[in-house]
Amino acid sequence: MLKEMLQPIFSLIPQVKSPTYRVPFKEKLKWTGIILILYFLLGQITLFGLSTNAVDYFGQLRAVMAGNFGSIITLGIGPIVSASIILQLLVGGKIWRLDLSRPEDKAVFQGTQKVLAIIFTLFEAIVLVLTGALSPSSPELTWILVLQITIGGILIIFMDEVVSKWGFGSGVGLFIAAGVAQQIIVGSLNVLSSPTSPGVPAGAIPHFIYSLTSGSPNFDLLIPVLAVVVVFLVVVYAESMRVEIPLSYGGVKGARGKYPLKFIYASNMPVILTSALLLNVQLFANLFQKLGHPILGTISNGRAINGVAYFLSTPSTYTVIFTDPLKVLIYAVVFIGSCILFAWLWVELSGIGPKQVSKQLYDMGMQIPGFRSSRAQFEKIMSRYIPAITVLGGAFVGLLAFGADLTGALGGGTGVLLTVGIVYRLYEEIAQEQLMDMHPMLRKFLGNE
């Protein structure tokens, strides 16, 4: 029903052409590079008519949203990600019945995601401007501001599509990684003097060297840099941990394969959803305070100082452990607890739970060697692993993001976690691509013709 109704809308919305040939390594590199440069350029174009007292309410989620506050790409990939999350929940929760193993329905999914992303762009632009989060410097500039934010948002949607089809990985991943990488580089290596204390370099490493030359080495300065390195190594290790379910194909004798279940099964989704939830606590505390009933705690200078909102705000430095251990404990329990909850919820709702996975594998004619070929058997084995890795993986990413936030890792806990995952997958893809370009025979062998 809905599918047919959407078709005329789809035929109005332009889309990037898919390559009809295998895009060579160098060309992929070219498109990824061009889009990356354009992305950084767009981030430098400031919004015309923005008043100086604009507040970045999404500061905490900046890593996930990418973009650059105050520029025309203020929204970043926010609309694309929101559209995709909502659509995955609708389809996974069977509210909208799409069979994602069928090409027509995949096209409908992809098309709807884009339509939703465009709607969200417009909606978010209007809401942000009209609620005063991005207030115009004079009232007649209101719609000019909305127009610029919308243009930036739509450009991001198309740039994402170019990277997904003609470049490495996805645009969404590329933009997140680019933003966080920029923060890490600037935060660790910046030699320009910091605005708060003139004459002292702002970056962590130059600042440390500066403290050495002044005779009082301050090793605390290096903690954020070391935290990034530690998180990087731990995530790379965890990314490669997986349970491999042996499979054989019923139709062909001797055809064997493996179905890998990643240890971080729900990926970083739990951390993103938890951050979004905790951000809402702060926003509501702010709202209640403005209404004159600070039931969630008082906020001053953008930071919660007491009440629920205080206990649920991210500890900015590890020294809070000594000054207020109770707060850190409560925050850790809530953060990791909701990560586990969201991991479980996301797996169930986005259609990668034991039931759905077993059904898909069974329908493909797969079976596990040594077991009777039945759906119940599949389900029994999947339910042995999937719930366990969901909970453990959720707790693991929660703990990691919490630890990264506590040590003040450059780029933020969620940001580093997301970026390492993205860069690792990008590395795998690039390595495989390059290999195939170098040896045409390998291409045949790997079956990627």
């Binding site: 789809f10 350029l41 992809q110 890998p260 971080i264 990926s267």
Partner: protein
């Protein structure tokens, strides 16, 4: 593993966004056109502030 098989296997983990290659009907843009469109609109945004007084 053949690419065809890879696509049919369910995902081995969750992702932030899901991407499919399948296309809907609708006008097609080449990547070059997207780059040009981006530059034109970016210039438009910059020009906006000078045209407004």
């Amino acid at each position: 593993m053949a690419k065809k098989d890879k696509k049919v296997l369910p995902p081995s983990g969750a992702g932030l966004v899901r991407f499919y290659d399948e296309e809907t009907r609708g006008p097609k843009l080449t990547p070059e056109q997207v780059v040009i469109m981006t530059i034109v609109l970016a210039v438009f945004c910059i020009v906006l502030r000078f045209s407004y007084s």
